[in-house]
Symmetry: C2
Subunit: 203 residues, 2 copies
């Protein structure tokens, strides 16, 4: 199998950190999305939505979507469980993974893609007002997460999970949207320092 990805975007990084936490090695091929290598006919066949990462299996089956790729590997290699083990943990981790994705990753992506000149060829039309609305949503979510992290070590509870992977990739991607943690986000910074210190974070 081969993982088709790039080195700069947050979605491939979600998969790289997940694999590093599991101790799984996978062959990789890098594309450069800035010169639209993800839009070639070969890539459209692999993923008609022209997004990476894509995991191509030996029989040609292609799994797109970062979290879908992670779920495939979780089913193959259950330990350590990053999507939870008990029904309640599975539900709570999925809830937090979704909250991070929908309330933090997506707003960051919208804030960035609808404002940055370099994104004009990828996001048509760019809508400045939609970018601005989403900057506000990112700031509100940082404030919310800072409050939540006062009572527990990780995003979804007392164990590291995919929700932490997504939140780390999101927070580290915020600079492109020109949003940052502020000095009062002490709990969020404590969490960010901890997850950034894990060996998987360099992936």
């Amino acid at each position: 199998m081969i993982l088709i990805e790039d080195n700069r975007a947050p979605n491939p990084r979600r998969v790289r950190i997940f694999l590093a936490e599991k101790g799984i090695e996978v062959e990789r091929r890098h594309l450069d999305i800035m010169v639209e290598e993800h839009k070639t006919p070969d890539m459209v066949k692999r993923n008609p939505f022209m997004r990476i990462p894509v995991l191509e299996l030996d029989d040609g089956t292609c799994i797109a979507e970062a979290m879908a790729i992670c779920r495939y590997f979780e089913a193959l290699h259950p330990e350590p469980a990053l999507f939870g083990e008990t029904p309640v943990d599975i539900g709570m981790i999925d809830m937090w993974q979704r909250r991070i994705e929908l309330q933090l990753m997506h707003p960051i992506a919208y804030a960035f893609r609808h404002a940055h000149p370099k994104m004009a060829h990828l996001e048509q039309p760019q809508i400045k007002q939609w970018s601005e609305v989403n900057v506000g949503r990112v700031e509100a979510m940082l404030e919310f997460l800072n409050g939540e992290l006062a009572s527990r070590q990780f995003i979804a509870g007392d164990r590291f999970s995919v929700a932490d992977i997504d939140a780390l990739c999101a927070v580290d991607f915020m600079r492109v949207a020109r949003v940052a943690m502020n000095d009062e986000h002490t709990q969020l910074r404590r969490w960010h320092d901890e997850v950034s210190a894990r060996p998987s974070a360099v992936a």
Copy 2:
């Protein structure tokens, strides 16, 4: 446990159809989101994002997010498997569930919420141009799905899955965004007729 939901929105319907397919009965409480019953202090405690459905367990634990609730029930009652059984099926169903959610449900919601006068109190500010962009995305996705469904019975393959539940709830919610299947969407209509004929669809 109790499922807190409403009767009109698509997200609670995703859970109802999922439970009907599993044959699971759960006590329910209905809220009316048009008069903001989901924004009371009690509901904010259950879900700070003030969205439904929310599943409240007997110990007070609250699981929000429709798919997270479904995953909790899938872990409790694995049969019939609606998120897949083998690693490849699990990955492919998650990929299709996400494609339906991100490329169909979200665009429908944006098209509706950013244009309809009745949504003005829920979506601030409403951005007409963002609604229009998303109408185009919904139409493109219908066209794409129609092509995909020429080669298989269900959204993610030859078995009914959560991807079908999401797609059914999305397609049935399109009228609020004033988008519809056209006469050339013969495969999509064939699929829609089939999944609508399942007993779970009335949920």
